[in-house]
Amino acid sequence: MSLVDRPFYSARPEWKDVEPLEQYENINPLAPILYTDEYKDATNYFRGVVRDGEKSERVLELTEHIIRLNPAHYSAWQYRYETLIALNSPLATELQLMDEIAVKHLKTYQVWHHRRLLLIQLRDPNPELKFIAQSLKADAKNYHTWSYRQWLLAYFNNDDLWSGELDFVDHMVNEDVRNNSAWHHRFFVVFQSGIRDSEKDRERVIKRELIYVKQSISLVPNNASAWNYLRGILDHNKLPYLTVQVFLEAYTLDTPPATGDIVDLENPPPSKEAQLPCPAAIELLADVHELQGAEGVGKAIDLWKSLRDIYDTIRKRYWDHRIKGASHREGV
C-alpha cells in the first residue's frame, strides 16, 4: 500500500465531522519533536477521535496509518484493538495485516503484543510457529519474537504445538551455535515449561541434554552460551558439579590432549582447532574444587589466580572476590 499520495485528513471531506486536536494548544513545549506534516495531521485526527470516543471503520484506517508511521505509538495500538473488538471485526484479516507489519517492525513491542491479543481471541496457535520461525530468519536473536514463541507454547500448551520444538531449537542452535536466545529457548522447552509425556523419563532427558551441550562445547569451546546451559542443567537438576570434572579438565589445558580411537560420549574432547585453555572451563573447574571443601579450595584459588592474572584479566576484581570469599570460609 502506498502512503505517498495520500491526502491529509484535513483535506478529506469524509473526515470533516471530526475536529482535529492539536497536541500542544496553550503552551510552548520544551524539547518538542519536529514532526512531519503527515504525522502531525494524522495524530491530530487521532487525538480528535479518541476525545470523541469514535470507534468505526475509518478509525481502523487512521490507526493503521499512524502505526505505519510510528509502530511504537502504543495508544494507537490500544485504540485500534478496542475498535476491532467494538466493531466485531474479522480478526483473521487483522492477523494477515500483522504478518506484513510485523516483518517491517520486528523490534517493536506493540507489534508482538497485538498478535498475542489476536491469538487469544482466534485460538489457532499452530500456524504461528511457522510465522515465528520465518521472522527469526530475519533477526535470529529478536527478544520479542522469542518471548512471543515461548508465550504461545506455554499459553496454549497443547501437545501438538510442542511436538516439533526440540527439532526446531536444534535447527536454530545449528544455524548459529552462539545464539544465546536459542539456547535459552532450549532450556525453556526442556526444563521450565512443564513436562510433556514424551519427556517423562527425566534421567534420560538430563543425560541427553548433558551429551548435547558437551558435544557442542567440544566443537566450539569458547562459547559462553553453551557453558551457561551446562551450568543451568546442573543447577536446575541439583546435580553435583563434580560430575563434570573429568569432562572439564581437557578444556583447562594449553593444548588439546592426544585422543585415542575411543569415543567417550560423556567426555568429548576439545576440537583440534580449539583455542585453549578455555576460561569458562577453568571457572567451572574452580567451582568444582571449591565445593570439595578445604582441600579443594587451594586448587580453586590457583585456578582463580590464573583467570585473574592471565586468562580473564578484565574480571580481576571478581576473581579476587572469589578468592577472598573461599579463603575466608575455609580459613585458608
Binding site: R178, W183, N222, A274
Partner: protein, 465 residues
C-alpha cells in the same frame, strides 16, 4: 601488548562475524601507542559538547527521526534533564517552568502519565514524567508536584494488576519488567506503596530469573483446573537481559521494605556471576553487553554497571566505609563482602570515554552510530556508576529513622528510610582521565541525583525540615 580477538575456535558463525567486526572497529578507538601521554587527550569527557548537544534538543527540539519516540516524550524530557543533572547543570527558572508545564500536559485524566498529550496512560512514561518533575518541579501552584493526581495514579496502578503479582504496562498491553520497576519507583517516590498494591509482586520478579542468573522480561503463569495460579511452572519469557535485570533487581530492592519475612530468595551467586560476565574484555574496551554473546553497547553501562550498587542493598546496610569489613563477617555463607568494585570500573569508563562519545556531542551505543538522547543519559549515568560508589549506609539510615515525623512502626517509614539511606563513599571515587571528568553521582534505585530524590520524597512523605 595489543589486545587479542575473542576466540572463535576456527568455527565462525554470524555471531562471531559481527563480534569480530565490532572488535576491529573498537580497536581503532584505542589510542596508540598505549600508555602514551596523548591517551589523556582521548580520555577527556567532552562536557561542553555534550551540554551543547542537550541544549540544542531542549531548545530547538528533536529532529524528525525522533517521531519514533513520539510515544516517549516524557522519556526524551527525562533523559535530557537527568543528563544535565549528572553533568552538574541546572535549568534556569524560565525553562524549568516550561518543562513543568510540558510534563503536566501528559498526565491522563484517569491517572498516570502518557507518552504525550492525549495518549493513554502507561507505566513507562509515568516513571519518566515523575522523575522529570523530581528534577524540574517544586511544590505549590504550577510547581508540578501538587498537580500530580496521586489518588488517580494509585487507581491506575491497581487497574493494571495481574493475578501473578505482575502489572500490565497499560490497558490491554503487555506485562514487562520495566513496567514493574517504573511503578515501584514512582510508588516509592510519591508515597503510594501499599501491601495490597505489591502483593505477589516480589514472587513474580523472582520467577523471572533465568538459569543464567540475569532476569527476563516476564514469566508465564500457569493456572490449575480450578483457575488457581500454580506455583510452578512459571517459565521466564526470553533470556537474561541487562535492561530487565536492572529493573528486576531494583524492583526487588524497592520491595524489601514491604516484606517482613523474605520468602524465596533470588539466586545472588548466579546473578553476580552473570553481571560480571556481561563486561566485555579488553578488545571490547571493557564496555558492557546486555545478553550473552551479544555486542557491547554504551547503554548497558548503566543497566548492568549500575546494577552492582543494587546488589549491596540486598545484603543489608554497610557502615560508612567500604574498607570496614567487620560488619559483614556474620553474613550469609558464601558471601563475605560485596567489594566496592566487583566490576572493572576503570575499563567501563574507558569504553564510555573512548567509544561512547560522539565527536559532535552526545553519547552513543558504539561507533560509528550517531548519538541519541537515550544513550546520552545511560552512558553518562554509567560513567557516574563507574566513578562513584553509592551504597546503603547504616549511619544514614539511623539518622533518617530518628528524624522521622509520624507513626513509628509504619511501612511508610521503612520505605522512606530504605530508599533514602544511600550515600556516596567519599573514599572511593575513581576518575579515569582525571578529575575534570567527574560527573555527579546518581541514586542507584531511581537514576536521579540523591539531592533530587531526597527533596521530592521529603515533600510527599511530609518530612520536610
Amino acid at each position: 601488548m595489543a589486545p587479542t580477538y575473542t576466540p572463535t575456535d576456527a568455527y565462525p558463525t554470524s555471531t562471531s562475524h559481527i563480534q569480530r567486526e565490532t572488535e576491529e572497529l573498537l580497536l581503532k578507538h584505542l589510542p596508540l601507542p598505549r600508555n602514551d601521554d596523548t591517551k589523556a587527550l582521548y580520555l577527556e569527557l567532552h562536557k561542553t559538547k555534550h551540554m551543547q548537544w542537550l541544549v540544542r534538543n531542549l531548545a530547538q527540539g528533536f529532529p524528525a527521526r525522533y517521531v519514533s519516540q513520539d510515544a516517549s516524550q516524557p522519556w526524551l524530557m527525562f533523559w535530557t534533564l537527568q543528563a544535565f543533572s549528572i553533568l552538574g547543570v541546572a535549568l534556569d527558572p524560565g525553562n524549568k517552568q516550561r518543562a513543568i508545564d510540558t510534563i503536566l500536559t501528559w498526565q491522563h485524566p484517569d491517572g498516570g502519565f502518557g507518552g504525550g498529550p492525549g495518549q493513554a496512560a502507561h507505566l513507562l512514561p509515568t516513571y519518566a514524567a515523575v522523575c522529570a518533575l523530581a528534577i524540574a518541579g517544586r511544590p505549590g501552584e504550577r510547581g508540578g508536584w501538587d498537580q500530580i493526581d496521586r489518588a488517580k495514579m494509585s487507581q491506575f496502578f491497581i487497574s493494571l494488576k495481574q493475578p501473578d503479582g505482575s502489572f500490565l504496562v497499560a490497558r490491554h498491553a503487555e506485562v514487562d519488567m520495566r513496567g514493574i520497576y517504573c511503578l515501584l519507583a514512582v510508588a516509592t517516590l510519591l508515597d503510594l506503596m501499599t501491601p495490597e498494591l505489591v502483593d505477589g509482586t516480589a514472587e513474580f520478579v523472582r520467577s523471572c530469573q533465568t538459569y543464567e542468573g540475569g532476569f527476563a522480561s516476564a514469566s508465564q503463569p500457569y493456572f490449575g483446573e480450578d483457575g488457581a495460579l500454580l506455583k510452578s511452572p512459571k517459565p521466564p519469557l526470553g533470556e537474561a537481559h541487562g535492561g530487565y535485570t536492572f529493573c528486576a533487581l531494583a524492583s526487588w530492592v524497592l520491595l524489601q521494605p514491604m516484606s517482613d519475612n523474605k520468602l524465596d530468595h533470588i539466586n545472588e551467586t548466579n546473578l553476580l556471576r552473570w553481571l560480571v560476565q556481561m563486561q566485555g574484555v579488553e578488545i571490547e574496551l571493557g564496555g558492557f553487553k546486555g545478553r550473552t554473546n551479544k555486542l557491547v553497547d554504551g547503554c548497558y553501562s548503566w543497566w548492568v554497571g549500575g546494577a552492582f550498587a543494587l546488589l549491596e542493598a540486598i545484603h543489608g546496610h554497610h557502615s560508612s566505609s567500604s574498607h570496614d569489613e567487620e560488619k559483614h563477617e556474620d553474613g550469609d555463607a558464601g558471601w563475605v563482602d560485596v567489594d566496592e568494585s566487583l566490576f572493572n570500573r576503570e575499563a567501563l569508563q574507558e569504553y564510555i570515554l573512548l567509544a561512547g562519545q560522539h565527536p559532535a556531542g552526545g553519547l552513543r551505543d558504539k561507533p560509528p552510530k550517531s548519538a541519541d538522547a537515550y544513550h546520552t543519559l545511560y552512558c553518562l549515568a554509567g560513567l557516574s556508576a563507574a566513578q562513584h560508589r553509592v551504597f546503603p549506609s547504616e549511619h544514614k539510615s539511623k539518622e533518617l529513622k530518628s528524624g522521622w515525623k509520624g507513626s513509628d512502626n509504619s511501612t511508610r517509614k521503612k520505605v522512606f528510610t530504605e530508599a533514602l539511606c544511600w550515600q556516596e563513599d567519599e573514599a572511593g571515587p575513581v576518575f579515569v582521565g582525571g578529575k575534570a571528568n567527574r560527573v555527579n553521582a546518581s541514586h542507584p534505585l531511581f537514576n536521579l541525583t540523591v539531592t533530587h530524590s531526597v527533596a521530592i520524597m521529603r515533600y510527599f512523605y511530609g518530612q520536610e525540615s
